[in-house]
Symmetry: C2
Subunit: 187 residues, 2 copies
DNA sequence: GTCTATACCGAGATAGAC
DNA sequence: GTCTATCTCGGTATAGAC
């Protein structure tokens, strides 16, 4: 499925993913990406015609990562446990969240303000994630409430990421994910 | 309390607030702000030594706005009604949220990635807001749980703003604020 | 395919006339 | 205090040698 790209291109994408996450996509220059990936600046344009194309590559990479995570969560026995595994994934990420926020949420927010075609593509990451969460609630027998419950859960996770980022405090993630896990078990 | 500034300075701040909200602070140029405020570009530097100072002015403006809102919410009779008034404020804002996300959340996220001294100041907006929400839960008799409940409520509001922004869908705000108002009344 | 050199533009910021 | 003209730097992107 995932296309095979050259080693250098892969390094460039990895560098772009990291730098855009830490400093923002707009604030990250091609020169920085090239340096981090140990590729000469001019060479970048052999792999990507524009900076926007790098943005798209970042989205693809994130989609792959999330897809892999969902496969792991799916291994949990019950829908409740799968949802808890998802919440646990956020918990495990708490230190990064406190430092740079949610990789998907902050990226989406930035791109949608900047405008351009990558924004819509970035939203697909959320769409896939939301659909997966909804399907778990559905399996739990929540029927037509499933969508609203999925929005509620993903909202809580996104929101606490925003707060943890603003306060640089992983403890907020700890208490909120605890609360959410209890809530899931109580359903 | 609030210092009195010149008419032109005020126009510049208003323009900066709007443009930074719509397009992001980093992506907004001083030339755009000057044009929107109908002030010559060179003149901007009479009022602000650097672009960072404009960022600080944006924060001050937001702090004033939120403070005014809280005074209105405080007029509601009970703590529960005050919290609902706060949630209702988000609801009333749903179309802007769907277009550009939460003004405070997106601004904070961006500034914390960019680094610099304004970021910490921007976090104070959240800190004040969170403290106010916590005080309402305290008045409700929630004691030491108040902090966690405040984080939970503000997280939900921030999170749904992120999702509504990503999907450009105000309906998400409608369903989630409904859910939160019911939750508050059930406490 | 890979890399160097550089074009070109728009950004923030400054100088100084009025 | 106000505005025009301009400087400088760093950004994306390109041209073309190897």
């Amino acid at each position: 499925m995932a296309k095979v790209y050259s080693e250098k291109r892969s390094r460039l994408v990895s560098a772009a993913v990291d730098l855009a996450y830490q400093n923002g996509f707009g604030a990250t220059s091609l020169a920085e990406i090239a340096r981090e990936a140990e590729v000469p600046l001019g060479n970048v344009f052999y792999y990507f015609k524009t900076k926007d194309e790098i943005g798209e590559a970042i989205v693809e990479r994130r989609l792959e990562q999330l897809s892999a995570q969902r496969q792991r969560w799916a291994e949990a026995g019950s829908p409740k446990n799968r949802l808890c595994a998802c919440v646990q994934g956020v918990f495990a990420n708490k230190d990064y969240l406190a430092q740079s926020g949610c990789a998907v949420g902050t990226f989406c927010s930035e791109l949608h303000k900047a405008g351009g075609s990558v924004a819509a593509r970035a939203t697909e990451i959320f769409a896939e994630h939301l659909a997966w969460i909804e399907s778990q609630f559905w399996a739990l027998g929540k029927g037509s409430d499933s969508r609203g419950l999925a929005v509620h859960l993903l909202s809580a996770l996104q929101g606490v990421s925003v707060l943890a980022h603003a306060f640089h405090d992983p403890a907020l993630v700890v208490t909120e994910t605890d609360r959410l896990k209890s809530w899931i078990q109580s359903l």
